[in-house]
């Protein structure tokens, strides 16, 4: 999977130094960087990229850590967990649309209390969506990263044996949060570090959320790269490549900064542990974290509710809390168009996810049969495509394909999706696959089953639920992909996500709502099936229902 990433980076480096034979230019030269520096928006675009990325990552991590510290094992925690897990599959774009419809000055929250509480007949002229500091965009990222980090943390928690440590810490008089932070966090964080870095790299270079919620005067660097890539003047590709390299450097710099922060916090943390404070403010901190976690879940859910309302809305002016009337007209208008996009989306997602699943099972089975062990370094390798910003290597990949004369279309898009789908499928399936009780296989072998027989007739059926879950994760990741579809597909491959983001610029909320909901459905339905099918298949095998 590193092939496309390396090729893409190469395709970025060459034009960044003035080498693009397709445009009749041969390098090396530093002109692309010089051109980039003349853009007046550059400093701000860079700052935006860094601040939104760091803020989104640290705030979502903080919420997840404190939430887990304060509440893991309690009923409230299970409630929040149950609320958050389905949200993992809500595509970023749909969540961003929902948030925009919710918190804009003329959004639903404002309508609900106007003019009654606020006295507003007109929405106040305040910059919330597209604010200059990218705070709304940061919020949009947080509500999507909290569920992701929470589920990752839960998986890591299973191996950290946190419950006993906290019990002992509490017996020694430590508060729940403080005890957890001091004893469990160091173990858990070591495991969730790669996904945290992924969140940081992703948040710094995201395009779709930035287009929907981010500022535009100037935009964050990633959006500017995509703009430069689509300039009619092919020479602008050089500047785009230079900007992409800059983006890569920023992400690497931020990762290094984050790593240094880890070291600093670890050092401070050690002193804090040694000081022996028992945590006076624990209950308050825990309650704030619960509020933040629940709040981010509710923001996504309310966003989806307001999408549903808009999709059926007749005229809906400010400050009415609900539309003048409900109508099927919007679905009649946009429904047929969404069906074509849905078909394309499904075709790409199913192919990419299935291929990823087969590769993953092949890898894991080989690891099991030949006793290979998967080193920590290999885990990082798996994460690499997710750590390199998409805007750094996808433009290069597109330019490279252009130079090779390769046809942009569905197949390259599927391959590009696979690069991003495979790591998630692997990470999702690896633990349950390895946790399978291999004694079952020994018994089957003793009864005369071949290794393949064991795999097909014992192991895979027993692992039906995690396999379907991994498949659903793969489908959801593929459905949400914006940039790979847009750039590698050359505009010819139209999925629900590209359509929805393209509609964002038109601002027709009814169309956006219909497409956003279809997109959410495409990602959510497989998850529901992944829950439903094992329950049906194993309805008379109690022990396998949770397998």
């Amino acid at each position: 999977m590193l092939g496309p990433v390396v090729a893409g980076l190469l395709g970025t480096v060459l034009p960044a130094f003035g080498h693009l034979p397709a445009a009749g230019l041969t390098g090396p030269s530093l002109d692309p960087f010089r051109d980039l520096l003349t853009w007046g928006g550059l400093p701000r675009a860079m700052i935006l990229s860094v601040t939104t990325g760091l803020l989104a990552t640290s705030i979502s991590l903080l919420i997840v850590v404190l939430l887990t510290a304060g509440w893991s094992g309690t009923r409230a925690f299970h409630a929040v967990e149950r609320l958050l897990s389905p949200l993992l599959s809500v595509p970023h774009a749909a969540a961003a649309f929902g948030l925009a419809f919710l918190i804009a000055p003329s959004g639903w929250l404002s309508r609900l209390v106007s003019p009654g509480v606020t006295g507003w007949d007109r929405p106040p002229d305040v910059l919330i969506i597209q604010d200059s500091w990218g705070l709304t965009m940061t919020a949009g990222l947080i509500i999507k990263e909290v569920p992701f980090l929470l589920l990752i943390t839960l998986a890591a928690l299973g191996q950290a044996d946190g419950r006993r440590s906290v019990t002992i810490a509490q017996a020694l008089g430590y508060g729940r949060v403080t005890g957890w932070l001091k004893t469990v966090l160091p173990r858990v964080y070591a495991q969730i570090r790669p996904p945290v870095y992924v969140v940081l790299a992703y948040s710094m270079s995201v395009v779709d959320v930035a287009v929907i919620l981010g500022p535009n005067t100037p935009p964050p660097l990633s959006v500017q790269i995509v703009k430069l890539m689509s300039d009619p003047d092919l020479a602008m590709r050089l500047e785009a490549a230079a900007a992409a390299l800059l983006q890569l450097a920023l992400v690497i710099g931020a990762l290094v900064f984050w790593r240094m922060g880890e070291v600093a916090i670890a050092a401070l943390g050690k002193r804090w542990v040694a000081r022996g404070a028992r945590g006076r403010f624990d209950p308050l901190v825990a309650r704030l974290a619960l509020g933040a976690g629940a709040g981010s879940a509710i923001a996504v859910l309310l966003g989806l509710v307001v999408l549903i309302i808009w999709s059926f809305a007749g005229f809906w002016g400010f400050p009415d809390a609900l539309p003048d009337g409900l109508t099927l007209r919007n679905w009649m208008r946009f429904g047929p168009g969404t069906m074509d996009a849905l078909l394309e989306t499904a075709l790409i997602a199913v192919t990419a996810a299935l291929v990823a699943l087969i590769l993953t099972i092949g890898c894991l089975e080989a690891e099991y049969r030949y006793g290979l062990s998967f080193s920590q370094r290999a885990v990082w390798l798996l994460y690499l495509p997710l750590l390199i910003p998409q805007t750094a290597f996808l433009p290069g990949l597109q330019t490279l394909m252009l130079n090779l004369g390769a046809d942009e279309g569905r197949l390259p898009v599927m391959l590009a999706h696979l690069v991003f789908v495979l790591p998630y499928v692997f990470l999702s399936l690896a633990d349950p696959f390895r946790a399978w009780d291999s004694r079952t296989g020994t018994i089957a072998a003793a009864l005369g089953a071949s290794p393949n027989g064991v795999l097909w007739r014992v192991r895979l059926p027993m692992l039906l639920r995690p396999i379907l879950t991994a498949l659903a994760v793969g489908l959801a990741v593929s459905v949400g992909q914006y940039l790979p579809t847009l750039l590698i597909g050359g505009g010819r491959v139209v999925t629900l996500t590209t359509e929805a983001v393209a509609l964002a610029s038109g601002g027709d909320r009814r169309a956006i709502a219909v497409y956003g909901l279809m997109q959410t459905g495409a990602a959510l339905v497989p998850f529901m099936l992944a829950l439903l099918i094992p329950a049906l298949v194993w309805r008379n095998r109690k022990g396998l229902r949770h397998g």
């Binding site: 005067t217 809906w316 400010f318 946009f334 252009l402 601002g507």
Partner: protein, 399 residues
Amino acid sequence: MKHLAVLAAMLAPVSALADADPADWDAVIAEAEGQTVYWNAWGGSTTTNDFIAWVGDRVAADYGVTLEHVKLTDTADAVTRVLSEKQAGEDEDGAIDMIWINGANFAAMKEADLLFGPYAEQLPNWAFVDAEGKTVQTDFTVPVEGYESPWAMAQVVFIHDTSDLAAPLGSMNAILDWSAANPGRFTYPQPPDFLGTTFLKQALVDLLDDPSVLAAPATDDNYDAVTAPLWAFLDDLTPTLWREGRAYPATGPAQLQLIADGEVDLAISFSPGEATAAIANNQLPPSVRTFVLDKGTIGNASFVAIPYNSGSTAGAMVVANFLMSPEAQARAQDPEILGYGTVLNMDALPAEDRAAFDALELGVATLSPAELGSVQAEPHPSWMTRIADDWMQRYGVAQ
């Protein structure tokens, strides 16, 4: 033998073109059947998208041509694409078969020899086109010469919500005065969006005492002096804009949502019938009306062009011809559907076709041709390019 091979090699691309000779229309129709036409057209307006889908249904039924609408956020993307293909040596079957185009993009493609043609004036329905009365033979002052065929007439109008802004404003300076008195109630799409740059051009044309200087290409000598009034105007206007000019709607239709939300009261549009269609689609309140400036407003034609490397030139010509048919034109002019101006000459139409146009209601928010008044010429594209670049340096990165 050797000479023959060279000759054959030279003829090969020519014969590929000769297959779709627009003069032999029956052959074009025969070749078009079964072809797929990828029409790259701006996809930001849902009403336009619906219309293109309808065109697709009709050409599939009548000619067996499959029409795929590739929805662009910026027409420049399509120009890039063709240019890249040319540089990569993809001369036979490029990804794009037809582009909704005009202005600077057309000028760039024509100059770089990226277009198929000339074909437009050989299409059968060209006979109905009002070539004399409407600006369909020049595009932003650049001669068309048959390299693109017109399908809609557009003219700048201003959409205003009469419940907040009752009376039309007659000039750009009147808009400035009103905006200063009502801060935060006006904005325009962010350049380089085409409607955003249209606003800038419209402002310049209206501010100049004699806009005729804009008909010739901008030069380094006259650019600063000619555009000075525009920048002075924008410096005054920007602080009074919605969000104080720190954010702008991305496109024209995004302004409609802002009006519906009560965020702004005034918006620019390039389609006299857009407001009526938007009221019908619940996108605008029924209190919305339109006006034009006292000195008139900019108007132009929308065209479709066929890239030189389209593999479906016959199919594309069939679609281009259908777009100029009385049936398609009457549908496009229907304010409930699209509300675009027709490119056809009513006097050239058969009586029953003319009746279809006569039967159309103007719509509550659409001005009559008389009310639309005089159409002002588009400036040469070089003005727009430079003004858009300058705007981005001055206001696009302003904090």
